[in-house]
C-alpha cells in the first residue's frame, strides 16, 4: 500500500518537465522585474561618456567602473543633503510607526473588548472613512496644518499620519478573535483594562502588531503627497521629496540622477531583503499590499 502511494512522488522528484518549464517562466519574469533596478545601478557606475553614447550605453557591466557620479552628487551638500533627508525619513517613519501602534492599539482595544456608549456608532464612522481617497483631503489638511503653525516642521510630517482608521480596524479584528475566557480569568485575578490589554491581548496579537508596524513604516518611508505639501525648506524634506525636487534641476544628467536614485533605494531595499519573510507573511495576514 505504502509503496504504491510513494512511488509516483519519488518519480516526480527526479525530473518533472512541467515544473522545470514553470521555473524557467518564473525566472524570466523575475529577471524582467529586476532589470530596471539593475540598469539603475549599472548606469550609476558608468562614466559620463558611457551613459549616453556608443557601446558604453548598451553595456550592463560598466567598463570602466567608476564612482564618479556618487562623488559628484555627494559633493553638492547644499542642493543634495541626502544624509539629512535620510535622517528625516528614518526619524519620521519611526515616529509615525510608534504613534500609530500606540494610539491604534488603545483604540482597537476599546472597540473590541470594552462596552461603552457610542462605541458602535463611532466604529461605523471609522470604517466609513476608510473609502475616502486621501488625495481629496490634501487641500483642507494643508490649511489645518498651517493653522496649527506646524508647516515645515516634524509635527506636520508625523502627527496627521496617525489619523487613519485602518490600523484600528485591522487590530480590532485580531483583538476580537481572542477568547473571552482569557480576559475573564485576568479580570478575576484583579486586572484592570490596561493590564488586560498588556498581559492578555498584546502577547497574542504580536503578528498583527508586527504587520501593522512594518506597513506603517514602509508607507511612511515612501509617503509623497503629504510631505510634499507640509514642508518647504530643503532641510525638512524626506528622501522621496528630496529626490523629486533634486531631479527637477538635474533631469538631463542621468549618471548622477541614477546615483541619487540608487542611494535613495538602497536602505529600503536592504530592509526589505532582511525582513522579506515577515513582510510577505504580513501582506497575506492583513490584506495590505504595501502600497
Amino acid at each position: 500500500m505504502s509503496t504504491t502511494r510513494y512511488r509516483p512522488q519519488a518519480r516526480r522528484r527526479r525530473f518533472d518537465p512541467g515544473q522545470a518549464f514553470l521555473h524557467g517562466v518564473m525566472a524570466l519574469a523575475a529577471l524582467l522585474f529586476l532589470a530596471p533596478l539593475g540598469w539603475m545601478l549599472s548606469t550609476s557606475l558608468k562614466s559620463p561618456e558611457d551613459v549616453i553614447a556608443g557601446l558604453g550605453a548598451m553595456r550592463w557591466l560598466p567598463n570602466p567602473l567608476t564612482t564618479e557620479n556618487y562623488r559628484y552628487i555627494l559633493s553638492k551638500v547644499e542642493e543634495f543633503p541626502v544624509w539629512r533627508w535620510t535622517a528625516n525619513s528614518v526619524l519620521v517613519a519611526l515616529s509615525v510607526t510608534a504613534l500609530v501602534l500606540v494610539v491604534d492599539t488603545l483604540a482597537a482595544f476599546a472597540y473590541a473588548r470594552l462596552r461603552w456608549r457610542g462605541r458602535d456608532a463611532l466604529f461605523g464612522l471609522l470604517v466609513a472613512t476608510m473609502l475616502v481617497p486621501g488625495q481629496a483631503l490634501l487641500i483642507p489638511s494643508y490649511l489645518i496644518v498651517r493653522a496649527l503653525g506646524w508647516f515645515d516642521t516634524y509635527l506636520a510630517l508625523i502627527v496627521p499620519a496617525g489619523a487613519s482608521a485602518f490600523g484600528v480596524f485591522l487590530l480590532r479584528q485580531f483583538f476580537s478573535n481572542i477568547p473571552a475566557e482569557l480576559e475573564e480569568a485576568a479580570v478575576l485575578d484583579g486586572c484592570g483594562p490596561l493590564q488586560v490589554l498588556r498581559h492578555v491581548i498584546l502577547p497574542l496579537a504580536k503578528p498583527a502588531l508586527a504587520a501593522l508596524g512594518i506597513f506603517t513604516f514602509m508607507a511612511t518611508w515612501n509617503a509623497f503627497e503629504g510631505p510634499l505639501l507640509y514642508t518647504d525648506s530643503l532641510a525638512m524634506r524626506t528622501l522621496p521629496i528630496g529626490i523629486a525636487v533634486f531631479q527637477g534641476r538635474y533631469n538631463t544628467e542621468y549618471g548622477p540622477m541614477m546615483a541619487a536614485a540608487t542611494l535613495a533605494a538602497v536602505p529600503v531595499v536592504i530592509a526589505f531583503l532582511l525582513f522579506q519573510r515577515h513582510i510577505i507573511k504580513g501582506i497575506a495576514l492583513t490584506g495590505l499590499a504595501g502600497r
Partner: protein, 315 residues
C-alpha cells in the same frame, strides 16, 4: 440601581479614554478635512484674497465647464482602464505561476515584490531614463532585437525609436506600464494568499472528473478566488484614480506634452497650490471623491450580480 448606573458611567469613561488619542487625531486630520474640504469648495477662496465669499456650487459648475478638468478626467480614466485590468492580470498570472511551483518559489516572489518597496520618486526618475528615446534601455533593447531579426534576413523596417514620454497618445500607456512594474508584487502576494485558501479537495475532485487545466481554472480557481479578486480590484481602482506622484515627478508642473500626463489629483494640486484657487481645487477634490465612491459601489454591485447569476446557474 444607582451603583450599576455608576458602573456603566465608569465603563463609558474607560472606553472613551482608550479610544480618545486616536479619536482626536481622527477628528482633526480626517473628519475635519472631509467637512472643511466641502466648505472650501462652496467658496471662492483665493489664498491672497482678503475675503472668501460663499458661491454655492459655482466651483463645481466651473469644473464641469472646464476643458482641462475633462482632459484630466479623461487621462485619469485612461490610466485606470489600462493599469487596473492589466496590472491585476499580471499579478494573478504571477501568483498562479508561483502557486504551481512545488518548491523554491521565494526568490521569484522577492524579485517581483522588490519594486514595491521603492518610492515613486526613484521609480519615476529611473523610468524616465529607461524611456529615453535615444539611449533608454527599452529602445536600446528593442532596437537590438529588430536589428538582430533584420540581420537574419527578415524583411523588417529599421527600428524607429518609440517616443514613450514625448507622444501624447503614448504617455498614459507608458505611465501605466511603469506603475504595473512598480505595484504588481503587492497584488501578487494577495492573489497568492487567496489561491492558498482554496481547499485542495476541489482540485482533487476536478482531477478525478478529468478536467483540463483551463477547466480547473475557470470552474474551481476563478469562482473561489472571487473575494480576493474583488478586494484587489477595489483597492486598485481606489489607488489608480488618485494617481499623482508618477506625473508629478515625470512631468510637473505642466504635466507633459499637450498635458497628456495631467491627472485629476495633479490638476487639483495645481489649482490649489500653483494657482492658489483653494476653493476650485477643493471642488475638483470632491468630484474625485464622488467618482471613486460611486465606482466602488458599482464594483460591489457587479460582483454580487455575477455571483447571483453563477449560483442561479448552479441550481
Amino acid at each position: 440601581m444607582s451603583s450599576s448606573r455608576n458602573a456603566l458611567r465608569r465603563a463609558d469613561r474607560i472606553g472613551w479614554l482608550f479610544a480618545l488619542p486616536h479619536l482626536v487625531l481622527f477628528a482633526v486630520f480626517l473628519l475635519a478635512p472631509v467637512g472643511y474640504g466641502f466648505y472650501l469648495s462652496l467658496h471662492r477662496w483665493h489664498v491672497l484674497a482678503q475675503d472668501h465669499p460663499f458661491v454655492g456650487f459655482a466651483n463645481y459648475r466651473a469644473a464641469l465647464a472646464d476643458d482641462i478638468f475633462w482632459l484630466a478626467l479623461r487621462n485619469t480614466l485612461l490610466f485606470v482602464v489600462i493599469a487596473v485590468p492589466f496590472g491585476n492580470a499580471v499579478s494573478l498570472l504571477l501568483a498562479l505561476g508561483l502557486n504551481g511551483l512545488r518548491k523554491a518559489s521565494t526568490p521569484y516572489k522577492v524579485a517581483v515584490y522588490l519594486p514595491v518597496v521603492v518610492s515613486i520618486s526613484v521609480v519615476a526618475v529611473l523610468w524616465r531614463w529607461l524611456y529615453n528615446r535615444e539611449v533608454g534601455l527599452l529602445n536600446l533593447t528593442a532596437k537590438g532585437f529588430v536589428d538582430a531579426l533584420r540581420s537574419l534576413g527578415l524583411p523588417l523596417a529599421p527600428f524607429d525609436p518609440i517616443p514613450w514620454l514625448a507622444d501624447p497618445s503614448l504617455v498614459m500607456l507608458s505611465i501605466a506600464l511603469m506603475t504595473i512594474w512598480w505595484t504588481a508584487g503587492g497584488n501578487m502576494i494577495l492573489y497568492l494568499a487567496g489561491l492558498g485558501n482554496i481547499p485542495e479537495d476541489y482540485y482533487e475532485a476536478a482531477r478525478i472528473d478529468g478536467a483540463t487545466n483551463a477547466q480547473r481554472f475557470w470552474h474551481v480557481t476563478w469562482p473561489l478566488l472571487r473575494p480576493t479578486t474583488l478586494f484587489c480590484l477595489v483597492i486598485s481602482v481606489l489607488g489608480s484614480f488618485q494617481i499623482f506622484g508618477q506625473s508629478y515627478v515625470l512631468f510637473a508642473p505642466g504635466s507633459g506634452p499637450a498635458r497628456s500626463g495631467l491627472t485629476l489629483a495633479l490638476y487639483m494640486y495645481q489649482q490649489g497650490f500653483s494657482q492658489y484657487e483653494i476653493g476650485y481645487g477643493a471642488a475638483i477634490a470632491y468630484l474625485l471623491f464622488a467618482l471613486v465612491l460611486g465606482l466602488t459601489v458599482v464594483q460591489f454591485r457587479l460582483f454580487n450580480a455575477e455571483r447571483r447569476a453563477r449560483e442561479g446557474r448552479a441550481i
